[in-house]
């Protein structure tokens, strides 16, 4: 099956910032992404868990598959939102089917 190079970017960000991040991605014309829920975690600011929470607590994971040449645009847009906040950005080499979608 024909596969095409792509980058898989995974952004863990605080839930209250989700809309800001996805708006920034849209503004940068990164219109493909998927948001996954996060149950809990641990980092420099300690452990946390979503159990029993009521407000927009916790984090979400935003996953973007993107053409390699558009990676920098994405990272610039994402980083502007994530930078003053806690959160983690990682990038992996990937391959995708149906390249016309990215």
């Amino acid at each position: 099956m024909e596969m095409h190079d792509a980058k898989r970017v995974e952004i863990m960000i605080e839930a209250p910032l989700e809309r800001r991040l996805t708006d920034a991605l849209h503004a940068a014309e990164v219109t493909g992404f998927t948001v996954l829920p996060v149950l809990g975690g641990s980092g420099r600011s300690g452990r946390w868990s979503r159990d029993g929470q009521v407000g927009r607590a916790g984090m979400v994971a935003v996953i973007c598959l993107i053409k390699p040449e558009r990676l920098d645009t994405l990272l610039d847009a994402a980083f502007a939102v994530v930078e003053p906040h806690i959160g983690v950005v990682s990038i992996t080499d990937a391959q995708v089917l149906r390249a016309e979608r990215f």
């Binding site: 839930a15 209250p16 300690g46 452990r47 159990d51 029993g52 009521v54 407000g55």
Partner: protein, 325 residues
Amino acid sequence: MNAIFDLAVSNLISPIILSFALGLAAAWARSDLTIPEAVAKGMSIYLLFAIGFKGGASVAAHGVDGTLLAAVGAGIVLSFGLPFIAFALLKTMTSLSRTDAAAVAAHYGSISIVTFVAATSVLEGRMIDAEGYMVAVAAAMEAPAILSALWLVAKSGQGSKFDPTLMREILLNGSIVLLVGAFAIGVITGEKGLAEIAPFIVSPFKGVLCLFLLDMGLIAGRGLRQAKGLINLQLVAFGIAMPLIGSTIGLGFGMLIGLGLGGTVLMMVLAASASYIAVPAAMRVALPEANPTIYLTLSLGITFPFNLTLGIPLYLTMAQWVTGG
């Protein structure tokens, strides 16, 4: 003194308080008891809808006396003003950074709707009527405190924190919209509407509140466990002093605008209580440098249980003394 004591004891042995205590104890003992996030959110939606609706229906039934606007205005003034007092107190009593102090101050200017609901239950248990529109006052007090806190930070030259998206988010926060919306529905449909859905929003209310407080206890308990070391005596002192100050000012405002005994107590409770749902989310966006452990532990771990157990009976006694009620 005996009266407060009796009131406090009878308050303490209510299912509501004991459910909170159970949550605290379970978290403390590291039990794996948890309430699913979706269920907790569902209960909070239920409580906001019910309390808003009942307030509105009560306004529809008893009519609006002239004090409604005055009360809402007083609430807004309190919400704007209390953060300055809290901030000054924190800078004096504690060694919190300017940003942390401002973030904590925002929580104390805003309100805790669950504390409000618990106070309503206590009043009902004692057959003390309260103005239905106090729910609207509660809604009006959610947001202004956040602006004061942002102003406190901006003033110190850390750059403006006011961005329009944030303002919209704060004002159209889900809990404000639901509370105000349900209040409006209650006003429009009145006693008739209330009668239709009373078996849902009135009868089981207290029971749901118990489970919700169990959850609050679990979260507060887990928070306190993790905050060990970060929370010193000065902070605890602030977490108890601030509601006392707030409630006293609330008492003054209640008297000034001529609220009845019930309304005055609720105004005191609103002034005394600290947010732990809406404001924390806003702070993560607006003041990410502020440490959430501090403000969450203070509002949910110290002030909330204080108000729930000792505060509410104390405020009621104070209001009774002053109004002679």
